[in-house]
Symmetry: C2
Subunit: 353 residues, 2 copies
DNA sequence: TGGGGCTTTGAAAGCGTTTTCGTGCCGGAC
DNA sequence: GTCCGGCACGAAAACGCTTTCAAAGCCCCA
């Protein structure tokens, strides 16, 4: 494969042009295809480029072309199954359109988030997708408003996935699952199995995604004619460790519930383990449902009944919607549907007790 | 927050310079800090930049500065827990050094891998990290040799994580776990629990990582004085589905084994389920061990005894080593250690049967 | 007072590409 | 035979920044 590498630096279009015996302008036209070029000339240039192993300098290209197609997706951590799937969706949809996609992890630190967004602005990202629940406070609102305006000013676009828009006048797009409907549906599933005393484990006041799920849970209860006092919400936050601990606490007290709706599958994983450690069985003694249907949910013991949120589709939808209408449909809110997947962690309470 | 956004385009350094009453050169010096500038002048420039919400154009900067600090990590898919952790490690270490990190997913398709590497060359990535097992054939070797040489020619560096180097003269770095030692240790763990008939589930001939694990398994057997015929290797490949199917097949035949070493945790997850579906219990009837210790391994039923491969550390090590000595220590091979984490999926075979 | 170094600053030269503008040329219409 | 439209192509400008080069100002000592 006779590579024509001469020295250190990269091969430039000038060298390609010289070898092909044309001017840089013609070489550029032949290579980028932006302007018609006679087939013979074109072939000569392409041949020369291949011989020299020429790769265009994306920086120079972006500099003159006024930016480049690049999307950035920002998640708390890549190792969370849900975030990873969203990121994969964004990546896939971006790749399909020939866009470059970079993903950044913040570890939940607003400082790192700001740094990363700043970096993306420098790099000329035209699409920044912030995914994942956060606590919505004033700092959050002003921060996101700033991002949105800055991006908007330079022709970019901000998308919030599962995050609230800070205000109606902020030029950001919101794409998320219908958390309220999902939680309502899975709670109704429990209710129609006969459960009446159901606890919601893993709320996180201020996190809009979780708040919506709690609202859905309450709505289902209300629709079944239960008083609001029947609701029992444990604010332990997300994560397996939180679920393990909170469920352990709960089981120390009187067992005045027959089912638990977990804030997400990881909380459910913790709850499952806590229940097992207390010598109880799922679903005979307690029914448990999760949220998100992470890939391993069917390997839990027992396989978990949960709400499937097609996370990859969320990522794809985010870029699809953002790129659809360039005419700034600012502040629009898109809700994606979810559905229940029934496995073996729910039974009728009549069976035991 | 009086932002000085005037129109559409981005604010340039020229406008900052004008507002601060200095030349572009001085503004550049003050902003980039590459050259000393009197404190007073510097403050004026910084003030102007802040007022105008100036962000440097990374493309222009990279163009004149001869590239930019950017690393690319290429994995099969981001949603695999192991790859995700490696990517997170790379991202973290890169971020610590002020590098930008791009992650690409190939879905295992060499075509997409090539496209992505090409794109990274255009973008001027100085570090490309290919992670994940592959089947090593001629196409693979020539492909990787090409990447390595191309990157090397333009001052970049190729790192292979858990992949074989295509040859000793190829300017690539290899960083991986000591798969042979890990598999040997976990097999020895089974042997010292009394198991003698152990099957290895999930081999994939040609994949060097798996091949090394199989070698470690055989070595442990040999060290315990077992003939090589005692080895029973099932070539079903990786993934939960493969484990589920292969284990199911195995259980249809005579049960001539008491323990299984899975190629990785996902295979173990499949095996666990297959065993449960056959009405058998782990570890009473069959002991199972995995490989990698993914985050959910302790939530399996039963919690899985496995080999912990600190994946994030692998990612960090890859960039650390690659950046350590610029003087091209080509072809060097770095092995990272692993250790066993004991949970509850192993018991002595004496108990039952 | 003059001159040698040091600091501060600005003008301008690139970096590698795309694109505009202009020139030369050819074929066809008159 | 002349003129005009269109095609092929090259020269040069532009993109936004960093950095070199040189000039100007300053301080200090002889």
């Amino acid at each position: 494969m006779g590579n024509g590498m001469t020295g250190k630096g990269r091969v430039t279009i000038r060298e390609v042009a010289e070898r092909a015996g044309v001017s840089m302008a013609t070489a550029s036209r032949a290579l980028s295809g932006n302007h018609p070029v006679p087939a013979a000339t074109r072939a000569r240039v392409l041949r020369a480029a291949r011989d020299l192993d020429y790769v265009a300098n994306a920086h120079a290209r972006a500099l003159v072309g006024g930016g480049r197609k690049m999307a950035a997706v920002v998640v708390r951590q890549v190792t969370s199954p849900f975030y990873a799937q969203v990121a994969e969706g964004v990546e896939a949809e971006a790749a399909d359109r020939g866009w470059l996609c970079v993903v950044g992890a913040t570890g939940g630190d607003p400082q790192r988030e700001m740094e990363f967004v700043q970096l993306m602005r420098e790099e000329g990202a035209r699409l920044v997708i912030l995914v994942g629940g956060v606590v919505e406070d004033d700092a959050y609102r002003s921060r996101v408003a700033r991002y949105a305006q800055a991006l908007d000013a330079s022709g970019g676009r901000l998308v919030l996935c599962g995050r609230p828009a800070p205000g109606p006048d902020v030029p950001a797009l919101v794409v998320e699952f219908d958390n309220e409907a999902g939680a309502k549906a899975i709670t109704a599933h429990l209710l129609s199995a006969g459960h009446r005393r159901i606890v919601f484990l893993g709320a996180l006041p201020g996190n809009t995604a979780l708040d919506a799920r709690v609202a859905g849970y309450r709505a289902a209860l209300a629709e079944h004619g239960l008083e609001d006092e029947a609701a029992h919400v444990v604010d332990c936050g997300l994560g397996r460790a939180a679920g393990l601990r909170a469920m352990g606490e709960l089981l120390k007290g009187p067992r005045d519930f027959t089912a638990v709706v977990a804030g997400d599958d990881m909380v459910a994983a913790g709850a499952l383990r806590a229940i097992a450690e207390a010598g109880l069985r799922v679903p005979e003694d307690v029914s448990v449902v999760g949220y998100n249907d992470i890939p391993l949910a069917e390997d839990f013991d027992p396989p978990l009944t949960t709400v499937r949120t097609p996370a990859e589709e969320l990522g794809r939808a985010a870029v699809r919607i953002a790129l659809r209408d360039p005419e700034r449909a600012a502040g629009t809110h898109h809700l994606l549907g979810t559905h229940i997947v029934v496995r073996r962690s729910v039974s009728s309470p009549g069976g035991s007790s």
